[in-house]
């Protein structure tokens, strides 16, 4: 691993009521890395993110962030510097784009830098500048995804978790989203944890990847190795 781990996941297990979702997930994310989690539907990628963001309480294992055990309520986890952009964007449809972004900076730490963060988000997605007063529910899918990512950035995270950010977008917008993720990482210095059905593009921008299967981490490696791996090719790249 190139850098000191910012996030360490150790033997996480979690369940929704009686239904077990995670059995044994372990991985680490170094400061400044882009890490992608691969796996089929139901492998536990989203559940893993939900554990990290505090929405799902693990029944075993430990999450450490910046060296400290992370057993906090979701609102405190955002304050600590972790933000999750959920699948399906989950904007507030009857609020304006500006309000959606403002609320992204809800935590006290982020609120002080609101104007700066907004300028950064608009520089990443210039198109949002003219949409600020529009209701979020009236935007196109691509624009909604931009707002969702922007809202996450407004909290000034150290770790940005993206769950299927390109889902349902036109190919041109997919490229745009990946370009921005790379930019957020390279220029903004934000560590990224990415879950993507678009495995090839995810591996192209990621430094390393982990493969999950039925709630367990079964493989890991540098993204370039995973891209060449025959098994990965067969399972995720359709080759």
């Amino acid at each position: 691993m190139p850098a000191a781990p910012l996030l360490e996941i150790e033997n996480i297990a979690a369940a929704y009521g009686q239904v077990r979702a995670l059995w044994d997930v372990s991985f680490a994310v170094g400061e400044g890395e882009i890490i992608t989690l691969l796996g089929a539907n139901g492998a536990g990628k989203t559940s893993t993110m939900r554990v990290i963001s505090g929405l799902l309480r693990p029944i075993g294992g430990e999450v450490r962030f910046a060296g400290e055990s992370l057993r906090l309520r979701p609102s405190r986890i955002v304050d600590a510097g972790i933000v999750q952009i959920p699948e399906g964007r989950a904007l507030w449809p009857r609020m304006t784009v500006r309000e959606n972004l403002q609320l992204g900076a809800y935590t006290r730490r982020a609120r002080a830098h609101q104007a700066e963060s907004l300028a950064w988000v608009v520089s990443l997605f210039p198109r949002l500048a003219e949409r600020l007063t529009q209701l979020a529910g009236t935007l196109s899918g691509g624009e909604q995804q931009m707002v969702a990512i922007g809202r996450g950035l407004m909290s000034r995270p150290r770790l940005l978790m993206l769950d299927e950010p390109s889902l349902g977008l036109a190919p041109k917008l997919v490229r745009e989203v990946f370009r921005v993720i790379r930019q957020i990482n390279a220029d903004g210095g934000v560590t990224v944890l990415l879950v993507e059905q678009n495995v090839r593009q995810a591996l192209e921008i990621a430094h390393r990847g982990y493969v999950l299967e039925t709630g367990r981490t079964i493989r890991s490696g540098p993204a370039t190795d995973l891209l060449q791996d025959p098994e990965i090719k067969r399972a995720f790249l359709g080759m």
Binding site: P86, W92, R94, R151, M154
Partner: protein, 294 residues
Amino acid sequence: MFTTQNLVSVAIAALLTAGLYAVMSYGLAIIYGVMKVINVSNAGFLMLGAFMTLMYFQWWHLDPVAGAVLNLLPFFGAGWLVYKLLVRRVVSARPIATLLLLFALWLVIQNVALAIWGSDDQSIITAYTYKSLIVGGFRLPLTRLIVFAVALLALSLLHFVLGHTYVGKALRATVQDPQAALLVGIDTERISALAFGLGTALSGFAGSLLTLLFSFTPDFGGPFQLKSFTIIVLGGLENFAGVTVGAAVLALTESFAVLFMRASLQNVIAYGLLVVALIVMPGGVAQLWARTRS
């Protein structure tokens, strides 16, 4: 029999009532929106608001409008406590649990009120209770005008808080998508407590205003409660602007119905409208509006 003069005065009376209806329903809408709980105890707090206003009036000759303002803080505290001590523990259980809990709370409040104040009809007569203003040939009872103005002021204030403050926006965000709210760091638990406090404060406030227009007993919250249900269903349950529309629709329907049927049947209109709304347009006026536009 129906002169224009007649119809206009009915319409004015209806709109004056609508303001009060909106205020007494807003709390219900906010609480439902944030935690998807029907606050049946609202009726109890409405009644308690009225009786506290009577007490202020008897102790200090305090005007009911001042009583309404005075009610805000203690009723906010009471609602906040009800959430922290009771609702929070059952809010994730099946809806019937909170419904029964809050129904029981209503009964407790009602019976405590009966024990303290008895079942006699109470009313507050102020210096202006029987006065009216003549505007453009229409006789407008002063109490209705005052209640309307105060209600309008309260609603404007509420709209400002919900639309322009961080906490108000956080509350609306929690209504529209609670999980997204959690993910940006909004403490939805705190917002819920706040919403219950705010909703209860509005009940206490509305209860005070009701004393300017009606006499009351410990049983009196019920019919108003049902009107509030009708209003928030008409408004679309989670749509705060819809509350105002729902209040206007109900007030107009009730007032014009009186031209055709006995006044004692007025409540039938509210309940009838509730049934019709639930069956024909469960999404309320807002949904109907959206449907006709698309």
